[in-house]
């Protein structure tokens, strides 16, 4: 959903782990899932400390494809 966030003009955007569970992934172990969630929130805190002039996507390279999981079906 990051392209939508950019289009509507959100200023600090952190990609997360999927529409149906943005801050988790049921397929991971509880420990792995919490660690993933923590990395996303840490990234968000970093974003809040960064000056931006326009909608900016903060890369979250620490999320692997396996962690990202299903996007599911979502309506905007």
């Amino acid at each position: 959903m990051t392209p939508v966030a950019v289009m509507v003009g959100a200023n600090r955007i952190v990609p997360a782990a999927g529409i149906i569970h943005p801050l988790g992934n049921a397929e991971l172990s509880p420990e792995e899932e919490k660690a993933l969630r923590r990395r996303i929130v840490e990234k968000a805190l970093q974003a809040l400390q960064t000056d931006v002039a326009q909608p900016t996507v903060f890369a979250a390279p620490s999320i692997t494809e396996a962690e990202r999981g299903g996007e599911g079906q979502a309506r905007p």
Binding site: M1, H21, P76
Partner: protein, 321 residues
């Protein structure tokens, strides 16, 4: 109030011709009504009620801001309290347009009064249709600002045929008009960064539909107009048994199993304890972001931001689905 037509109401009488008579003209100053709108509208309303009109024509206000807002407020009040149809006219940049176009028929006019009679003729034509309870055409046909109402219409060609025709027009370099005007999203300047998140109060907000069991604020499953504020004071984590999710735009199975997959209270508390953030705000704000109108989103955003600012919150993590 003056009996008969004075000022711009003379143009209304001219446009009406034999179709009607301007029984009276009600007038007041821009500042008077801007400074005390409730008192002023009530006073104008009783003057109008005494005349028992079939139609109230306000303005046209062109690009005059206070005048436009006054016309909109008066027309809305006349319709609601006297059940009398109304029509007014404004330039597209008049602030009265956005405030009242959903309630009142506002005919699009130029910015100045130079073409008064022509503009007023269009107001009166639409007003007469309202009085006679005739069918009102689309905004494009009748020349009023869209009121945000959707009507079903039967068309001869299906969507695929119309889209293909539109594409061919576009390829031929001709202008095409979308059947679904996309909303334009006003740019919001980026707020400055927080110098030290380690000392700042951070709030969690979501449009993913988290609610306490029983949905006490009645937040809609889609096209939300309401949001809720839920306390997490003293909570280390969210107990799944205490929460539900009413969002109807995605499969909520996983966030119902574990609300932290949407609202990360558990790790935010850890980070607070470790000093990575100053304080986690004790209220989580929540609504459903699915087919929510831009107008309601803006209003709810403004209200939530005002409450967070009043509580001393400096930063927000908004989790979205």
């Amino acid at each position: 109030m003056v009996t008969g037509a004075v000022g711009s109401a003379r143009a209304v009488q001219q446009a009406l011709d034999a179709a009607g008579t301007v029984v009276a003209t009600v007038l007041c100053g821009d500042n008077y009504i801007a400074e005390q709108p409730e008192t002023a509208v009530a006073a104008l309303l009783s003057l109008i009620a005494a005349q028992g009109p079939d139609l109230v024509v306000a303005g046209p206000a062109f690009q005059a801001g206070r005048y436009g807002v006054a016309c909109g407020a008066l027309c809305a009040a006349v319709q609601a309290q006297l059940q009398v149809p109304t029509v007014t006219g404004m330039h597209e940049e008049n602030p009265g347009v956005d405030l009242y176009r959903r309630q009142v028929y506002i005919v699009q006019t130029g910015s100045e009064a130079t073409r008064m009679l022509d503009e007023v003729r269009r107001l009166v034509a639409l007003g007469l249709k309202l009085v006679r309870r005739e069918a009102i055409g689309t905004p494009a046909v009748e020349g009023y600002f869209a009121r945000g109402i959707t009507h079903n219409v039967l068309v001869e060609r299906n969507a695929a045929e119309r889209a293909t025709a539109m594409l061919l027009e576009k390829l031929a370099g001709r202008s095409v008009l979308s059947e679904v005007p996309l909303p334009t999203f006003p740019q919001v300047p980026a707020p400055p960064s927080i110098k030290e998140v380690r000392r700042a109060t951070i709030a969690l907000v979501t449009d993913g539909g988290l609610v306490p069991q029983g949905n006490p604020d009645g937040i809609e499953a889609m096209a939300a107009t309401r949001y809720g504020a839920y306390s997490i004071e003293g909570l280390e984590q969210l107990d799944p048994a205490q929460y539900d999710n009413v969002h109807r735009g995605y499969d909520t199975t996983y966030v119902k199993q574990d609300p932290h997959r949407l609202v990360p209270v558990d790790v935010a508390r850890e980070l607070e304890r470790e000093g990575a953030m100053g304080k986690l705000h004790e209220m989580v704000y929540s609504t459903t972001g699915v087919a929510t109108t831009l107008a309601h989103s803006q209003r709810m955003g403004r209200e939530i931001a005002a409450r967070l600012k009043a509580a001393g919150v400096e930063g927000v993590i908004l989790t979205s689905t």
